[in-house]
């Protein structure tokens, strides 16, 4: 089935056993993002210390793609500097907007490369991006804005 390119085993694994789930303290910013067309929702908290993302915690409701993406995203950004993590976010965004034409770099995106197939389904791209957008929003709030002025608030 063609869908195997969307529902990769990595995605299904993260969906069944999500990482870093739950809302934790302390945190510097909390956001609530929704996807109004499908009803997906995420509440997400970010803790930043000395320019490093030290924790991302979340409660979310949504499809396998949005749930797995949140799990993969936390694996990638926790422990990284804000600047590096924002770089990953740009990389992932580019992949999701590529309509299946970008060959993702596994050394950079790790498990997130599994979402390359999702980029071929325009209706599902926003599912994969929901938690990333929430994380970016919360992080920008936590650090009081980013120099590039690219926050999409």
């Amino acid at each position: 089935m063609k869908l195997d390119s969307m529902y990769q085993e990595i995605i299904l694994d993260h969906y069944r056993n999500p990482h870093h789930r739950g809302l934790r303290e302390p945190f510097d910013a909390e956001v609530h993002h929704v996807n109004p067309t499908c009803g997906d929702e995420v509440t997400l908290r970010v803790r930043v210390a000395d320019g490093v993302v030290t924790d991302v915690s979340y409660e979310s409701e949504g499809c396998s793609i949005s749930q797995a993406s949140a799990s993969v995203m936390t694996d990638l950004v926790i422990g990284r500097s804000v600047a590096d993590a924002l770089g990953l976010e740009r990389e992932f965004l580019a992949l999701m907007q590529s309509r299946g034409t970008l060959e993702p770099d596994e050394d950079v995106l790790e498990d997130a490369v599994a979402f390359a197939g999702v980029s071929k389904y325009p209706a599902r791209v926003k599912c994969a991006l929901l938690s990333w957008m929430a994380w970016k929003d919360a992080t920008v709030q936590a650090v009081g804005g980013i120099p590039e002025q690219e926050a999409d608030r």
Partner: protein
Amino acid sequence: MTDTETDPRTGSRPSPILAGVGGPRSGYDVERVRKDFPILARRVHDDRPLVYLDSAASSQKPTRVLDAERDYYELHNANVHRGIHTLAEEATALYENARDKIAAFIGAPRRDEIVFAKNSSEALNLVAYAMSNAAVSGPEAERFRLGPGDEVVITEMEHHSNLVPWQMLCRRTGATLRWIGITDDGRLDLSTLDQVINERTKLVSFVHQSNILGTVNPVATLVARAREVGALVVLDGSQSVPHMPIDVTALGVDFLAFTGHKMCGPTGIGVLWGRSELLEVMPPFLGGGEMIELVTMESSTYADPPHRFEAGTPMIAQAVGLGAAVDYLTDLGMDAIAAHEHDVTAYALEQLTAVPGLRIIGPADAVDRGGAVSFVLTGSDGRALHPHDVGQLLDELGVAVRVGQHCARPVCLRFGVPATTRASFHLYSTRSEVDALVEGLGHVRRFFGT
């Protein structure tokens, strides 16, 4: 509704195919009907036959409707109500003829009670904005005036298009929005009807058939209560007019809104029916060409209904297409269509209820219920499956359903679900398509359940 006279699956009874002529058929031959819809022969994903179960979102169009639009553009196209040349007169005649057909289709006493709009949303907004425009109109519009202390009543099962315009109207006027709740089995909770609709109620607007629950609401009960308190009644017929015989006089409402594309007609055309004595005194919504009588630089007077409410060049080809759709539905017979859909819906409820882990959101029996069936599903491991995942996998099997909140988020909140999967049927739907859905759901449960 009544049971079907013949088994719609067998199609054994020969019946004359309708190629633009002929009266209602005695038997309902769904396989013959399907041949009128070229798109139903499409194949998707690895050459699978299309199983289109999303007619509540938009119905497919029979060849007759497509031909009517094409003929209009190829042979008669011109602007209406303006020119004196041949094409302009033909276009005007075709446009106004569509109005006649639609008036007859819903039993409207007068043709000028049919107002063309873009869709149901615009038809409902037309009433809502006319009501706030009443504040700056003469005494004749008193009936439409709202202010603080007045109440507008809707229900918890409204499509956003019959919810948000009234929220906005209440905000503009200071009136209060109230609503009738939903019972656990997806019916209106009428136990508080006399409190919710009271002497402060100026308008009651509710859906005839819910797009998400499938519930057919008791119009007579709500109309009777609204009449006791002198409130205007608006009915959202988006999901009922395409599927059952409608007689506005029998319904007893003041306004009826519906949309063309759900009843085998084109997109971009909807209808507001209103009682003529109300339309006569209702202020306009949109200003512009064709809706006026006399214009000076200082002020204008307005045309009589329906033109008062049809500013600008209307959707001429779409109206002609909707007229052809109404002819098509009339020839099949709305009673026969309703009976066929009732059979498919009852079968679907029976089959879906038997799917492990499936919970119907809405009435679980086919009584006072239309063919929009929402449900939530758990995988074979007992975990809730998100409708998006359900819909995506079904699509790969060729089965088209709608997933999400169906523009009725309050209903999802009421039932504590983030979203639902919805299968919806129309005059061309079959029992074997229900079987394909059920088989697909088994596949979905196994895919995510391991």
